[in-house]
């Protein structure tokens, strides 16, 4: 992490002002994610850890956003809340017009199933199930009938160029192929957002590029993508980069601004 990131201005760019206006207004169809003053504290054996200290964020439909930050910056916590795996102690989280910060366990499970497609660093495929069965899984929990499930899973796998390997198990696939199965699984339910957590963290650089191309292609075709990463060259594939520091948003820039700042910083040293 470059020290320049730490000094980046927050809430000053015109883009950020647009975001802040969205945060201040009632949720609209244009903004798929709106968070207001998200706070999350953990009790770690008596010691209160403040992972998020009031995060205001808004993401438009079809945006491709990277969330960056060093470890301990709260980016994982933010991702868990955005992914509806966790709920904030304070603040509001509107996802696709629904106030999910107030929902219970089962309702959150529904939202995860319908609105969110997860892509994990470690792929998290079920080892004993075929690629097809893995991709079918979200549809199983959505209650889709078997025949339709299979058809939709096949289509999703074909989209990530794995139409030939649908009956392979994860251990019979390469890392890149596994991540593409995971992407197919994330997309099969037609989610509002694709949420990727360090999607290239376990891949070599060639395969990482390959996965980034898949993401780019998805973003081009109108999929909202949110990617959490600590690598700035991966983050710079996104079209907007949000940097978190100490549980707050440190910067919120376009890709061009981000690359220019990083580039300048790197040249300066």
């Amino acid at each position: 992490m470059s020290p320049d990131l730490m000094e980046a201005p927050a809430g000053t760019t015109p883009e950020r002002q647009v975001v802040m206006r969205a945060v201040g207004q009632a949720p609209s169809a244009e903004w798929v994610i709106v968070t207001r003053g998200l706070t999350r504290e953990y009790d770690m054996g008596g010691e209160i850890v403040r992972a998020l200290r009031g995060v205001d964020l808004a993401v438009k439909r079809n945006e491709y956003v990277a969330i960056m930050g060093p470890s301990g910056s709260g980016k994982s916590t933010l991702m868990n809340i955005v992914g509806c795996l966790d709920t904030p102690n304070e603040g509001e989280y509107w996802l696709n017009g629904q106030l999910v910060s107030e929902m219970g366990d089962d309702a959150l499970a529904r939202v995860r199933n319908k609105e969110i497609g997860f892509v994990f660093q470690t792929f998290n495929l079920l080892p004993r199930a075929s690629a097809l069965a893995n991709v079918e899984l979200p549809l199983v929990y959505a209650g889709v009938p078997a025949a339709e499930r299979k058809q939709r899973a096949m289509e999703a796998l074909e989209k990530v160029q794995l139409g030939e390997r649908v009956h392979h198990r994860p251990n019979e696939l390469s890392g890149g192929q596994r991540q593409r199965v995971a992407i197919a699984r994330a997309l099969v339910n037609d989610p509002s957002i694709l949420l990727a957590d360090e999607p290239t963290g376990n891949l070599d650089s060639n395969t990482s590029e390959e996965i980034m191309k898949v993401f780019e292609h998805l973003a081009d075709s109108g999929q909202t993508v949110i990617m959490v990463t600590h690598e700035s060259d991966i983050a710079s594939h996104a079209r907007r980069v949000v940097v978190l520091r100490d549980g707050r948003i440190a910067s919120d820039e376009t890709k061009a601004q981000f690359v220019a700042r990083i580039g300048a910083g790197q040249h300066a040293h």
Binding site: N80, G83, L85, D86, D105, D106, A109, R110, R112, N113, K114, F118, F120, N124, L125, L126, R128, A129, L137, P138, V140, Y141, A142, G143, R185, N189
Partner: protein, 412 residues
């Protein structure tokens, strides 16, 4: 998650871990196997008793007058001693009963015991010796394959004659006509005058190994040295008359023995329905004890399944995290593990039921115990299997469902 999906998933998990699954369901398998075997044998006995036993042992439309009840399920020490203190039955009592009853009742004094019988040149053998009246043959509906039964005249004169069962005939007089030949019972000679047709066996005990002689012969003293009577058996003309006959006999005997209104009977009246209720009591005990042991097997089976499921939950923590992230609700996770546990357990129960039927048939083939597999017991076995699985699965399943998806996903 649809039920069928959960079953498919469970079968897949079981297929992948064949050996582990086999050991998991061993307890349930053994439990259900013995459960089915025990229930089949008890049912078989019960069928047998209802159809054959009561009529063969007690006779149709009959009741017995005796010192103590003939069929006792449970009686304490004191009760037994009280029965032992009761006066014995002698000929005068039999006479009292006979005089109290209308002429269409058949009455016979009966003494019976195992005594050695022999013919010269053959090893003595124990036979069921019965000393009785001539009417005994009518009461028991014994048909004869050779010779004749003795008459009441022969009883009156104490003729040393004997009617023998088919097994006695074939043992002592192989290839010969037994009629007119001598048989020594308890050391004294009797002349064989008839052979009873084959009666079969009750619980492996042959009903054809008997000899019947008049109650007035020395056989009575050989059985009961005091000369008393084991019991008086009374046959009514039809079923409806049994109760009336019992009441008449009771009143007459009470009068004869001078019992006051507040005193209890010092004799017992037993009907074949008493024998049946005796067996019902015995049956419920057999079922209780017979199922207690397999039940322990089932409890062990349940504990094993619970343990295996807990291991499965911790081994598959990450899988549970993934499923939750993809939209599985608590009830989906609970259903998954409950169905997995019950599928295991039901498969165990099915294998156990098959083995149990085999075991019952084997026991029926190699021992005198009858066995009849009741269809309800197979259904019960499956319900038990599912019940064990669900019970054993509840705790692991709820642990799995309560897992925090974030922590579960982070698990290595």
């Amino acid at each position: 998650m649809p039920f069928f999906e959960a079953v498919r998933l469970a079968l897949q998990t079981i297929r992948v871990q064949k050996l582990k699954s086999f050991f998991t369901l061993l307890g349930v398998m053994i439990g259900v196997m013995f459960l089915i075997a025990v229930v089949s044998i008890v049912e078989g006995m019960s069928d047998y008793v209802e159809n054959d036993f009561a009529a063969k042992i007690i006779g149709t439309n009959t009741f017995d007058v005796s010192r103590a009840p003939s069929f006792v399920v449970d009686a304490d020490e004191e009760q037994w001693r009280a029965w032992q203190r009761r006066p014995r039955l002698f000929d005068p009592e039999a006479e009292v009963v006979r005089n109290a009853l209308p002429g269409d009742f058949r009455i016979a004094r009966v003494n019976q015991s195992f005594l050695p019988a022999t013919v010269p040149g053959l090893r003595p053998r124990s036979v069921q010796a019965v000393a009785t009246d001539a009417s005994y043959f009518d009461i028991k509906r014994f048909g004869l394959t050779a010779g004749r039964a003795f008459t009441q005249q022969e009883v009156a004169t104490g003729a040393r004659v004997v009617v023998i069962g088919s097994e006695v005939a074939s043992y002592y007089y192989e290839g010969l006509d037994p009629v007119g030949r001598e048989l020594r019972i308890a050391g004294l000679p009797y002349t064989v005058i008839g052979v009873i047709e084959e009666q079969g066996s009750v619980f492996g005990f042959s009903m054809d190994r008997l000899v019947i002689a008049p109650v007035t012969t020395p056989l009575t003293r050989a059985i009961n040295p005091r000369g008393d009577i084991d019991f008086i058996t009374v046959q009514a003309g039809n079923r409806e008359l049994i109760t009336e006959g019992m009441e008449l006999s009771r009143e007459a005997l009470r009068g004869f023995r001078g019992l006051g209104p507040s005193e209890e009977d010092d004799f017992a009246l037993t009907t074949s329905s008493a024998a049946l209720s005796f067996f019902d009591g015995l049956k419920s005990k057999l079922v209780l004890f017979g199922t207690a042991l397999p039940a322990i097997g089932l409890v062990v089976g349940a504990l094993v399944i619970m343990n295996i499921m807990l291991v499965a939950v911790s081994e598959r923590t990450r899988e549970i995290g993934v499923r939750k992230a993809l939209g599985a609700r608590r009830r989906d996770i609970i259903a998954q593990f409950l169905v997995e546990a019950s599928t295991l357990s039901i498969i165990g129960a099915m294998i156990g039921a098959a083995c149990g039927v085999g075991l019952a048939k084997l026991i029926a083939a190699v021992t005198p115990l009858p066995a009849s597999v009741a269809p309800w017991s197979l259904v019960a076995a499956l319900i038990v299997g599912a019940g064990v699985g669900i019970t054993a699965g509840i705790y692991p399943a709820s642990r799995a469902a309560r897992l925090d998806p974030i922590a579960a996903l982070r698990q290595e």
